[in-house]
Symmetry: C2
Amino acid sequence: MGELRHTSSGVCVPGFRAWGERGRGYGVALIVSEQPAEVSLMLTSNRIKAAPLEVSAAHARGRVRGVIANSGCANAFTGEQGVRDAEEMCRLAASLLGGSPEEYIVASTGVIGRRLNMPAVRRLAERCSARLECSPEASEAAAKAIMTTDTYPKMCSVQVELGDGSEVEVGGIAKGAGMIAPSLRHATMLCFITTNAAVDRETLREALGEAVRKSFNRVVVDGDMSTNDMVAVLASGIAGNRSTDGFHEALNEVALSLAKSIARDGEGASRYLEVEVKGARSEAEAEAAAKAVAGSPLVKTALAGADPNWGRVVAALGCSGAEVVPERLSIFIESSGERVCLVERGRGTEQAEVLEAARRLMQGREVRIVVELGAGSASAEAYGCDLTCEYVRINSSYTS
Amino acid sequence: MGELRHTSSGVCVPGFRAWGERGRGYGVALIVSEQPAEVSLMLTSNRIKAAPLEVSAAHARGRVRGVIANSGCANAFTGEQGVRDAEEMCRLAASLLGGSPEEYIVASTGVIGRRLNMPAVRRLAERCSARLECSPEASEAAAKAIMTTDTYPKMCSVQVELGDGSEVEVGGIAKGAGMIAPSLRHATMLCFITTNAAVDRETLREALGEAVRKSFNRVVVDGDMSTNDMVAVLASGIAGNRSTDGFHEALNEVALSLAKSIARDGEGASRYLEVEVKGARSEAEAEAAAKAVAGSPLVKTALAGADPNWGRVVAALGCSGAEVVPERLSIFIESSGERVCLVERGRGTEQAEVLEAARRLMQGREVRIVVELGAGSASAEAYGCDLTCEYVRINSSYTS
């Protein structure tokens, strides 16, 4: 097994072509594999699932050729018509890219409760199909087409040598920003991952579950779960590998990198936040504690103001359900390679110079809160951002 | 049993005197009963509990004479010294008001992690004790003394005729604003309720649990639970009633009214939000659904912008865990006695004039979202407010 090398392919790993186009408030992305690929999906745990999720879940029972996705309209809460529209998108993909409609995954993001503008989707998909290629630029075009309130496209890809010496690549694109929340079992945003590796269905399912659990499910932006969240991974197998040793690590890296990009681009965010909780009784408790801190509106607003109000971290930890031993609890702020201790084994600082140093670190673009619970030896991270007026501004006039 | 009549007593029901004073960033309130009262407490479910909660829990094992509470410092995460300071506050109350230190409930609210300024507390308590009286003004002074980011004092009181014909009064004061969140079993803010009714310990405990469950636990402001939240009820028994029939209703009314006052005064709130969910399979599901809507940051920001983005209500309902039958789901907006239907039995509106009417209603100071889930016959309400830039501003510089 070799180490992971980051590449610039994005979702355009060998054997996959992509493109994206935007226009009239819509965006459409196409991703297509040169041969039918094994697929695994993770869908939102919201009880109300958008029509494309139902359609995709059915199509993912077999192998698939590609993905058609749109921004501009979620096609959620659109009843039977929504299902017909999602199926129509798959027919459109098949007519443009080959194969049958059942061989396409369909995804949508945007406003809930409106019907898709099918002529707009068709026009953009046709323009995409004329420009499909396997290049970093094509991946970026696809990533840009699915953006909503995202401020930049999200891509990641890595090459790895598997256990049998074969070289494979895993890459992906994602969109996120608002409506990202933790969920114990399900994905919570839009992400398409491709690989030329041969991976059997069961291994792919397990690997995706593990990757999502440790990445997207640890991103906390605003605590709401979308009706449309989907993570899909397509494995074409054209690399011809006989081992999958090393594939999990590559998939984890792509998922984690995309998840962090989403947290960095949280709606209206001025600072990225990583929370690491150590010394927990179990990984589940460490994760719950890290998410409670990263998701606390009071911690998030304190971060926006670069206010080292560690009492809010303490309060969030106490709410998380994780065992905390107050007299062993320590809390640190890190940024740009520097670290300040705000709470040391149960003793919080009131020293002005320490608080001032913490305030300076919190003014960075990337801030890390490290917590030692003193209750065990498990650890976990969570990823988020600050809560700013800009978040309120963006979300108070989304449909208008 | 007579009906409930609202009065102006607040916490100063017959036999209780109170006062509050503020100065130097602190506030102190005293409440004292003319004879030892039966008591019941509900404390935060945060695992990290402030020192005064530990001390009060011990004191509530017996009868108590009164309450000493301060704003300005939470005395939380202050270790052994914090416990000594909380006990010192009870000694102070006993020296000023009579009885033993163990006969006082102590509560604190403010910044976490700082030691109490005991000289400041003492000075204010001494000033309070010189002015104690049984009057609406005294109740208001006490309610004002415990305010932090609250913009107005919260009081409520009702008179009721019990089953045996005796007339009793139940009244209270509360503070809230930020850090209010739902919790299934515990209270989540600061509230002191008094009554001259005779209520036995077990009945008092049951009645308080029920009242809190249907009031404070249905208030959703920002989803964080404080280390200091406490609801206390003191029943002096001087009314000499032999029946408690009717007491529960009076206690429920006081708790609900105070809870709504807290939601109305959510930090930075420009609009008050009531969510009523009907047609749920169970009351628990109705409550979960109502809280999910009232607590959704996306619903709260849409409300701030008077944006009738009903898709976010749908998404929040889907996340709540409650059974939703999409084709029977209806969503209404109400304000000032008017009502607009945004979703009617699964069909969302896209009509400009309907959305415009909804927008107009959402510009009111008090907005009600009514949801019919179509899954059963249970219902519940939740209370909250919008999420504004002002919330972010208040919370990004609290310790500074």
